[in-house]
Symmetry: C2
Subunit: 477 residues, 2 copies
């Protein structure tokens, strides 16, 4: 293990029984999880290489209960780690030994839908896909679609500013969030934003979105809902080299065309996902793009024709346009199950860097070189249109030293992203995973400024404190 | 005059000559404006009812010069009011007597355009329209389009998170901004965001956008550029009542249709704008919508047909679809010149509130009642699709007491916006105009939280300090 957990506060550990006794009257009996067996379910998240049992877990059912828990923990100086469904790939929901996990998954109701205002008000523990399900009868949907959307909560989406395959056209969480109910560290409940455009004063809503559970606990959210297009059609385009697929993506975007999605898979990812989904992916290609267009049949035809024109100079080796709903579903099943399908054949860590789209070809070439230099394998499957990379670095956890090699390769890849003018993360957040890499992207003045903003909300660093910032060099207000 | 300027610091006023002498070596000779005649050009902005001569004006040409000026003013404890083109309708660019105006209008170059990444890097003093002009040869444009776009700067757009008629489809400034170079209050230069999606850590870019020049001076910006649609076609739809036009807007949006723009004018605004632009507006209608759709001819036809179906129950009294580029230009000239055309016939103040779209009919009815109760006239012309209202309250500045009545009516209208679940501002910002109304939207805890965030960037309140927050009850870090 190369990422360190903070040293727990012995005074808190010593008071564990008293803290649990203090929490007991604040929530229903079954909502307080203290036994070792039951806590085990909360010891890790999507970054399964790291595990840490929390002091206790509370699962409140209302904003008032969340406020009561926060008020109590604040008084007692107890750290709190918020948790949605625990699907974070960056360790954002992993606790520390002296912290209480506050899970919002029981708060999973739709509170109101307003089609004229195109908003839905939901409790924060609702899953991403359940929002779309609740408005589908009128032809609407909620746009950001992380691959984990069946499980992940809107609370987690807001914490990480999550994206997804269709965010190329529709934007990420911050572009689809209208307002939140936020419980502050001391239990104060505030409303930020609402069912209207803009807000007076500073954009605190934008600041909360992507703040990784460090500025407060979101218990309700108003999100933008959109009308689904008349139809959608994904096409699979194979290429003879990774560079050609990368350059083709840049050319499509550079021509000003915004399909709903441009997803990229290299040969390794194609093989893995095709074996799982049987979607007709081109097994002979070095790289493949899934390009989805939407609209009427005529619109889809016209846009695909234009895309094929632009792609021609990059010599695609195959083109297959979906001919049915079932075929489209299989194509997306392969893509959305990529991480799970990879997990069936190997241990892996999933990187999440973002680069300017124009640098795709260069960066893909360099990622290949980095992988080879460590003697590892890497499957690339990612949101090419957004320049949001997801190298899945494969390794064998039972071979001593191999995980460390994979982590070192991942670090090199993220440094590369920053070097070409990109960024450490696109949608997974910093979590514990990239905490120590923040100094690659930011100098000390930058980090201090972010920490001073943090301190306005949580001066004592009680909220999810082991994340985002390196453990060394922290400052308070 | 009902809005008070802060009492100037006599120690600063007494040191005026020394401060000017200190500024002189920092910028070119012609970039330091000190004479009374020349300072006069900077004594007001788009909120012309209020005037205040600044201590001096500096117009730097580079980020380094801006940094030098900020460093000096910070050392000397001199307040600084940033200024773009001075088109603010909320008094955002009006100085105070003891402040130096720092204007960025000389920094007006395009630095780089990258079509593959869909970004343009510009100096912050460039006008909004000049960005579109610089990328038009490849069929691209910059989307947010304030009516003042010929004059207003991207610096001002960022400060106020400006919108415009076409933001219904494309989003406002914050949705089209990728990164900025920011000079902090002490002269430190930082980069925030960049030519890539998302950023690691907190969303400081979102926080800067809309912060009204209080968190630093933006000297460069990376903005998203978009491919222009194949074609666009505005249609004019007349209605027999304001409520019908409002309800029709809600029905279109509620059906999940997002035209590029849905603009609203009532009879008063139609009359004023038609006299100016001769665009063929329906003079017999009580209210009119300008609905613009875009795409191919067939797409425009199909979307307009669907919109007409939805509108039918609201009994439109007329429908006129633009048949030529010239006709479309005239239709938009009338809308975009609405404020100027109103200024030809009367003094006015322009309100800027935002409401949930579903409440449009109710709020328009109430605005009529408020106007009548003060014995005034009001022209309503605004971004209906976004729920962003712009009542233009007409008055005669030479009739004693009438401006105060107009301001009181405006205040009632903004209180109404908040009451129905909306917000004090959509795109003009708070400025000095709505400073004292912030307590209607926010309680003291809310305001203190915003001020604590402000204090992270500017603990001594040197940056544009007379704006956004009520002068009473301020707190520092």
């Amino acid at each position: 293990m190369t990422i360190a957990f903070p040293v727990p506060d012995p005074a808190i550990l010593a008071r564990r029984d008293a803290i649990i006794a203090g929490l007991r009257p604040l929530v229903a009996a079954e909502a307080l999880v203290t036994s070792e067996d039951e806590r085990r379910a909360f010891e890790t998240d999507g970054l399964t290489a790291y595990r840490q049992m929390p002091l206790a877990v509370v699962l409140p059912s209302t904003t008032e209960e969340v406020a009561a828990v926060m008020r109590y923990c604040h008084q007692q100086g107890v750290r709190v780690v918020p948790r949605g469904a625990g699907t974070s790939l960056a360790g954002g929901a992993i606790a520390q030994e002296d912290a209480v996990i506050l899970g919002v998954a029981k708060m999973n109701r739709v509170l109101a839908v307003d089609f004229a205002d195109r908003t839905a008000r939901v409790q924060a523990g609702i899953t991403n896909l359940a929002i779309s399900a609740a408005v589908a009868h009128e032809g609407f949907f909620y746009a950001p679609d992380p691959s984990s959307q069946l499980a992940c909560t809107i609370a987690g989406n807001i914490a990480m500013n999550s994206g997804g395959a269709h965010c190329l056209k529709y934007g990420v969480t911050t572009n689809n969030l209208m307002g939140v109910t936020l419980v502050m560290v001391d239990g104060t409940v505030v409303e930020i934003g609402g069912d209207h455009l803009d807000s007076a004063g500073y954009d605190l809503l934008g600041l909360i979105c992507g703040s990784e559970g460090q500025l407060g606990i979101v218990t309700e959210a108003s999100v933008r809902i959109l009308r689904a297009a008349e139809g959608a059609r994904p096409a699979l385009m194979g290429f003879g080299s990774v560079e050609a697929a990368g350059a083709c993506t840049a050319a499509i975007i550079g021509a000003g065309i915004i399909p709903v999605a441009i997803e990229y898979m290299d040969r390794e990812a194609i093989t893995i996902c095709e074996a799982f989904a049987h979607a007709g992916y081109p097994l002979d290609a070095e790289a493949m793009l899934i390009i989805e267009v939407e609209g009427s049949d005529q619109e889809c035809d016209a846009m695909l024709a234009r895309i094929c024109e632009i792609a021609a100079p990059f010599a695609p080796t195959s083109l297959k346009v979906s001919q049915s709903e079932a075929e489209s579903a299989a194509i997306w099943k392969g893509r959305k199950s990529a991480f799970g399908a990879t997990g069936r054949i190997s241990d892996y860590i999933c990187m999440d860097g973002t680069i300017p789209t124009g640098r795709l070809a260069h960066v893909l070439e360099r990622i290949g070189e980095i992988t080879r230099s460590y003697g590892l394998r890497c499957a690339n499957v990612f949101h090419a249109g957004d320049g949001n990379l997801h190298p899945l670095i494969l390794f064998d956890i039972n071979t001593p030293g191999e995980m460390e090699k994979a982590e070192a390769a991942g670090e090199d890849m993220l440094r590369l992203c920053v070097e070409v003018g990109g960024c450490l993360t696109g949608e997974h957040g910093v979590g514990i995973e990239k905490r120590d890499l923040m100094t690659v992207q930011y100098n000390q003045a930058d980090l201090h400024q972010q920490m001073r903003v943090r301190a306005v909300f949580d001066p004592a660093w009680l909220m999810n404190p082991a994340k985002v910032f390196p453990l060394e060099g922290r400052i308070a207000a």
